[in-house]
Symmetry: C2
C-alpha cells in the first residue's frame, strides 16, 4: 500500500472540483467558508454573513476501538467536527449526521444518541438532517457554524515574529489510547484524565471565539502537534516554526505518571487531542492570556514564527535547551498508515 498524506491526496485528485469564486474558502483549512451572499450566487455585500462548514468521519477500527462506548462515540463524533469550527473562530450552529450501522441495535443507538445529544446541548447546536445506512460502523458528521468573514482565523496566515501557542495539554489522548490498548498501565495517576481526553474531547469553541482578532493563524491538533504544525506553514515556504523544547508542557504528563519517552512522543506526535495551535503577535500576549482565562483553558507559548533560512530550509524546528536545533518531521496520524503514535524518531534531550 502506498503511503500518502491526506492533504496531498485531496490536492492531487480533487483540486479540479474547487470553487471558482474567490469569495469562497474551500479545501485546505479546518472548515470551508461560504458567505451567505455567495451561497445565494449574489454579490458578497455583507461580509459578516459567512457560514463555516466542515465534515469528519470516524471509522470503527481506524478512529476508535471496537469497545468504545456508544455514548462516548456519539459525543466524540460531534466534538471533532465542532473542533474544526473552533479552529476557524466560528460559532457552531447545526449539524447533519450520516450514520452507517452494521445492524439495528436499539441499545447501542440509545447510547450513541445520548452522547450526540449531550455534546449538542453542551455546545448549543441542532441536528438538522442526516442519513442512515447499513454497512461497517462509521459516522460522518457535517457541522455548520457562523463567523464574520474578516474574523475567521485561517491556518495559512501566520506572520514572521508571531508567538506560537498551544492550548491545554496535548498528548493526553495518545496516552489514553496507550492505556486502553494495554501499552501503558491502567494504574498511573493520569489514566482517567488521559482516557477522558481520548473519549470525551472538549472542542475549544470558547477559546476559538475569544481569539478572534488576536490569533493570526490557527488550527486544531487532530493528527499530532508536529504534523499539524507543518500544516500551519505548508503554503508558507518563507516561514519556519521554532518550537522551544523547554516551553513544551511535558512535565505535567510526567508528573501524572507517564514514562518520559512516552509522554514526549504523545505530546509531539499523538493525535486526537483537539487542542488549538495558533500564532499571535507578541504584543497580544496579555490578550491571549485573557482570552484563555475567559475560556477556562490553559495556553502555553511554545515557540515563534521566524523567516525560513535557505540553509535550514525546514518548516518546523525544535530548539533544544542548549540552543541547538533539530528538524521536526511531520510525525503523527496518517490515515493510510497503521499509526503508532508513541513511536517517534526524535527523542527529548532531557526531562525536567
Amino acid at each position: 500500500m502506498g503511503k500518502i498524506d491526506e492533504f496531498a491526496l485531496i490536492a492531487r485528485f480533487f483540486r479540479s472540483c474547487a470553487p471558482p469564486e474567490p469569495s469562497i474558502l474551500g479545501i485546505g483549512d479546518d472548515a470551508a467558508l461560504l458567505p451567505c451572499a455567495s451561497a445565494l450566487r449574489g454579490n458578497r455585500d455583507d461580509a459578516s454573513a459567512t457560514l463555516a462548514l466542515t465534515t469528519d468521519t470516524l471509522v470503527a477500527g481506524s478512529h476508535f476501538l471496537p469497545d468504545f462506548a456508544p455514548q462516548d462515540l456519539g459525543w466524540k463524533a460531534l466534538a471533532v467536527n465542532l473542533s474544526d469550527l473552533a479552529a476557524m473562530g466560528a460559532e457552531p450552529t447545526a449539524f447533519l449526521l450520516a450514520l452507517t450501522l452494521p445492524r439495528y441495535d436499539p441499545e447501542w443507538l440509545e447510547g450513541f444518541a445520548y452522547g450526540v445529544q449531550a455534546c449538542a446541548q453542551r455546545y448549543g447546536v441542532a441536528l438538522i438532517g442526516g442519513d442512515t445506512t447499513r454497512g461497517p460502523l462509521a459516522i460522518t458528521i457535517t457541522a455548520l457554524g457562523v463567523v464574520p468573514w474578516q474574523a475567521a482565523i485561517r491556518r495559512s496566515t501566520a506572520q514572521v515574529g508571531d508567538d506560537l501557542w498551544v492550548s491545554g495539554q496535548p498528548g493526553r489522548a495518545a496516552l489514553g489510547l496507550a492505556v486502553r490498548t494495554g501499552r501503558l498501565s491502567g494504574d498511573l495517576p493520569g489514566c482517567s484524565e488521559w482516557i477522558a481526553a481520548l473519549e470525551r474531547p472538549q472542542p475549544r469553541i470558547a477559546l476559538g471565539l475569544a481569539l478572534r482578532g488576536i490569533a493570526t493563524a490557527m488550527l486544531d491538533i487532530s493528527d499530532g502537534l508536529t504534523q499539524d504544525a507543518h500544516h500551519l506553514v505548508e503554503t508558507r515556504p518563507e516561514l519556519t516554526l521554532c518550537v522551544e523544547e523547554a516551553a513544551l508542557p511535558l512535565a505535567p504528563l510526567v508528573a501524572q505518571g507517564a514514562p518520559a519517552e512516552k509522554a514526549w512522543a504523545a505530546l509531539l506526535g499523538g493525535g486526537d487531542d483537539y487542542e488549538l495551535l495558533f500564532t499571535a503577535n507578541p504584543r497580544h500576549r496579555t490578550a491571549v492570556a485573557e482570552a484563555a482565562r475567559r475560556a477556562g483553558v490553559s495556553v502555553h507559548r511554545i515557540g515563534s514564527v521566524v523567516p525560513r533560512s535557505i540553509p535550514e530550509a525546514s518548516p518546523l524546528v525544535l530548539v533544544r535547551r542548549d540552543g541547538t536545533r533539530t528538524t521536526l518531521p511531520p510525525q503523527g496520524w496518517d490515515p493510510f498508515r497503521v499509526a503508532e503514535p508513541l513511536d517517534l524518531d526524535i527523542q527529548p534531550e532531557s526531562f525536567s
Copy 2:
C-alpha cells in the same frame, strides 16, 4: 436483526437533537432548510436567503456492487445528493466529500475523482471541503443549495384534489441492477438504458426548479415509488394517494424487453431512480407539462390526492383498470433489510 424504517429510527433516537427554532426545517424532508439569518442567529428578515442542506452515504456492498466503476461511483455519490436538493426545488451550489477508503489506490481515485468532477461540472457545484479516512469503502457527501424560503417544495404539503405526478421512467435502475447481478439477461433491448439509470442517475435539478410555485409537495424516489409515496403522506393522516394502474408508465419497460412482472415490481418497488414524485393542483396541468418540457424530462400524471376515508384508512391505494382498489404497502429499499427490489407482493392485473 430487527427491521426498522430509517425514518422511525431517526424519530426515535434523534428527535431530541432537533432545532428549537421554527425558522429551521430540520429532520424529515429531503434536505434541511436553514435561512441565512437563522444560521447567523439573527432574525429572519430576508425570507429569500435560505440554504438547503442534505447528506447521503453510499456504502460498498449495500448501495453499490463491488465492481461498480469508480467514475460511475463518483458521479452517483454526488448525483444522489443533488437529487435531494432537486426535490426541494433548490439550486445546488457546493458540496463536501467524506471519503473512506480501504487503501490508497491512485488508479481508483483518479476514476472516482473524474466521476465526481463530471457531475460537479454538469450541475455547477463546487467541492468546498471534505475528509479522507481509512476503512471499508464508503462515500458521504453533504450538498448545499439555495432556495427562497417560500419557494421550497416540502414533502408534507400535498392538498386534497391535487394530481400525483412522477418524472421520467421509474424502475429502470432496479432493472439495471437485475442485469448487473445476472437476474435478467444482458441481451434485452433496454439493458444499456437501465444500467445507465443505475450507474449515472440524472438528478432532476432543472425540473425541481421549474416546479417552484407549481408543485405543492415533492420528494425524490430513492427508496422505491410506493415507499416514497408513503413518505408524502406520512404526516398527513387525512390524505390518501390514489395511483391509477392504467396511468403508470409500465409499457415502456415491457417494450424494452423487461418481463412484465419484473417491470411492474421495479416500477413500484425499485429504488435508486431519483425521479421526482410530486403533487400539483389540476389547474396547473399545463404548467407542469411546460415545466417538464423546459427541463427536458417526461412527466406522468399517475394519480390523485383524496381525503382518507375511515373504512379505507390506507395512505396509498392502487386503482385497478376495473375500478377496484388495493392497498399498496410501502415496499422498497430498507437499509436494514437485504433488499430484493424485484419481489413485490402486489402484482399487476393486466399488462397493456
